[in-house]
Amino acid sequence: MTTTAADTRAPSPAPSNGPDRPRPPRRRTRAADRGFNRAFRYLATSAGTLILIALAAVAGFLLWQSWPALTSSGSEIASKVSFFQGQSSLASYLGPLIFGTLLAAAVALAVATPLAIGIALFTSHYAPRRLASLLGWVIDLLAAIPSVVYGLWGALVLAPTIQPVWQWVSNVLGWIPLFKGPAADPARVLLTVSLVLAVMILPIITAVSREVFLQTPKLHEEAALALGATRWEMIRTAVLPFGRSGVVSAAMLGLGRALGETMAVVMILSPGLTYSFALLLAGKQQTIAANIALKYPEANSLGMSTLMATGLALFVITMVVNMASRWVVGRRKEFSGAN
């Protein structure tokens, strides 16, 4: 839902190309708007409309399904829904879930973005062409692995293997609340989850960043080199400023995927409902999507409705993230790499 093909496409040429170019007429003359022309116009319009209808239908469905929970008091839900025990209101249940969702995605993004920029720069400016295309192919392959496989790998291989590392981290950096120890054994903790999420969102951030870096005008790069800049200085002064908004929008796309990821989280994390920043302790955080998947099978009707309300919250969060990324890209259109 969060990564559509339309989002990854570079924005279309800016309309503000200057007055020297004649504006094309808004629509072809009536004579031309016939036959296939007209049919195609209708087809394209209805395809565009369909997306909006689907989106509205999803929002309406979530609202309709979650209505009983939204209108019930917390104590009423608690008396009927077993997983709601000890909660005073829907907000008190939702709060830690939103917190956990954002925390997991934010940590994943913090790990994945620098790595993705590094890989993208290597393939666009450092690697020989053969190696670059091979590396690009491998990175794209990461995107093709189903999330349930990531989940299995994370739960069966990564969590037990990485435990000594987390133990070491908590010993050395335990004074930072994020790394408070002792690290859980097995490491079914949020940091492990975020690491897997980082691998999952790496391909999309890398691919978009690489395309943007490749769009840097050759003149800028050559000018920087001609002024005596080293390759790193050239990248810092020409490539990175040019690609900045593209990288931001790439990161936002990755964030969208990380927010909604379900299976990997379900399989790796030992969930809990607290506002805890402790990334190495088990049973502290939970994400919305994973919580729905876990509680759905045995939920009664009000329980289902409560889960739908959390789904509605996730829907709103994802939409806000995507709109924010659009805004960032739109604000700096002139640097976005399409011109």
């Binding site: 077993s82 739960a155 030992s270 876990l294 099978p297 009664n300």
Partner: protein, 309 residues
Amino acid sequence: MDAWRSGFQSANSGVTVNYDGIGSGDGRKQFLSGAVQYAGSDAYLTDDEIAQAKTTCQNGDVVELPVYISPIAIAFNLKGVDSLNLDGPTVAKIFDGKITKWDDPAIAKLNDGVKLPSTAITPVHRSDDSGTTQNFTQWVKANAGDAWPYEPSQTFPVKGGQSAQGTPGVAQTLQGGEGTIGYIDSSQVGKLGSAKIKVGDAFVAHSPEAAAAAVAKSDVVSGRATSDIAIDINRTLTDSSTYPLVLVSYDIGCTTYADANTAALVKGFFSYVVSDAGQQAAASAAGSAPLSSDLAAKAQAAVDAIKLG
């Protein structure tokens, strides 16, 4: 359930039985609304639900059959220890986080001669809501006294700690860490160690026979139709041939159906499920305990109450 469906279908060609694993709560709801002809559930119908079922069942009675008996094992992963004796209060304190080391005096006292390491205990529970958690918490509540301050629930009541989805998830989490302990369907214990629980004055290991004996020695809920074999498992049995930490699943149907074909089909399917062949199929597919012959006879009598036409 799948083993039963395929077994029944291969014995009766041209018949298709569908089962949608949507969870016990929803299954009962759909049965009560008449959307499905039979349901499988980890809990028997409540009195309210029985009253609702009158309409669905054309004013006939409800048929409830205990068809799937599964012992729940308390499994652990502790180097050098394969078997432990545990009683209710100790299990309660371990899962409540009150006992945190394996060499705690409370555990050592029950296990003379076992060399216990000082490893930290990591209790692992189910992160999804489940009948297994419901039955486990019922057993702990009944056997631990004041040591377990929580009510039985399909959501594990203690906050925080390690947890995983489904019995396979818990089993795999137990294997992934040192000093872990959790409750799982006994068929999935595998290489893990498992505890003998205190029944009366003895410590009893989980086994299909002991689980079936515990169900056979428990009382049927009184005041219900003869076709309604709902069992209140006696969690505090003292007979050392029983293992009362057990999960019972029911197949739920009606004695009367509007359509004679449906009645014949449900009757045939239920007969197969409670038969020796059906119970053996479940035992080999899921490691459940076959019904005792006494209970199987009662269940078959209940199935016979389904009226054809």
